[in-house]
Symmetry: C2
Subunit: 204 residues, 2 copies
């Protein structure tokens, strides 16, 4: 049984990384699944505990931090969010790939905790296209759009911390590109291979 891979996906807001992740899971649902985050924010209508998030109290969350129970965690305003280590590890040990959509700071923390992860950065085809996508969302004022494009550019400068980058020109193609990366990573000659060589030897 090969251990699964942890795929860490980042990219500027509006680039479509959420849609790509969903598409990848749709196409590879027997092999790849989402990491479920833990949070102290209350569930919204329709959200299911253990599926959308693990919902916990602030006290429980802080206890888990102390126990080093997160691959990464962050506080956003008054709520905590984190990636529970044991949950991800169980899936990886069971041979399943885990996909984790996360901002750059979170990704960099994951990298420290789990450098074997595969770090993929989603890029827009151009800044003009990113502007269009952000604008298309609705009612953002021009100054907010400029702010977000500046933010995007700052994020893109972290590209060199990632292993792969995928340009999201077409959603389907971008998802296929991520799947190709998964396939290639599973084809890498790693220490697992020595077991295989032994297998061939025994067969002869």
């Amino acid at each position: 049984m090969h251990r699964g891979r942890l795929l860490v996906i980042s990219g500027p807001s509006g680039v479509g990384k959420g849609s790509i992740c969903k598409k990848v899971i749709e196409k590879k649902k027997n092999d790849v699944e989402f990491s479920v985050s833990m949070t102290t924010r209350p569930p919204r209508e329709g959200e299911v505990d253990g599926e959308n998030y693990f919902f916990v109290t602030t006290e429980e969350f802080k206890k888990k931090i102390e126990e080093n129970g997160f691959l990464e965690h962050a506080r956003v305003f008054k709520n905590y969010y984190g990636t529970p280590r044991a949950n991800v590890m169980e899936k990886l040990e069971a041979g399943r790939d885990v996909i984790l959509e996360i901002d750059i700071q979170g990704a960099m923390n994951i990298k420290k905790a789990y450098p074997e992860g595969i770090f993929i950065f989603i890029l827009p085809p151009s800044m003009a296209e990113l502007r269009k996508r952000i604008t298309g969302r609705g009612t953002e004022s021009e100054s907010v759009i400029e702010l977000r494009l500046g933010e995007a550019l700052k994020e893109i400068s972290y590209l060199d911390k990632y292993d792969y980058c995928v340009v999201n020109e077409d959603l389907d193609e971008a998802a296929e590109n991520v799947i190709a990366i998964i396939t290639a990573e599973h084809s890498k000659v790693t220490e697992n291979i020595y077991d295989m060589i032994d297998k061939y030897k025994e067969e002869i």
Copy 2:
């Protein structure tokens, strides 16, 4: 323009690496092409100079060796075979991927001359299946088959010198796996990316 990648494909005799390479080129004919070897052996009927091989005299071949004009070369009985450096480089510079099917010794020489190559090893699903494929070819005696299986096992022990391995259970799947490796390699964050970051910066 991104530089193309040199794909070096090896694997034991009978594993089907030739068929995989052909299939990959068929499916990616706009992006990937074969490397054409140079040889001193006379052309067989129907073979076209510059397509199947570059056919040259022994004198021409030896001159090219002296000029360091080969990525690798070898003598097989009284004939020479080699991979002309300039020919491969031109294709790579033009942004095309080049596929080179070669034995392990040749691959190791390529690795010295061009470590940026992508080294892929094709594996049989099992030794039993490899035996079946070798036997299926026709009239090999049992002792020759044993010899070739032993040779295959020796070759498989070089696996750790390769970047990727692909099990050829199904020809189509194995070709798709090689194509996924090509796609992933082109998605790697490399120095080309800094040009892209500059592009995004200029656009804003």
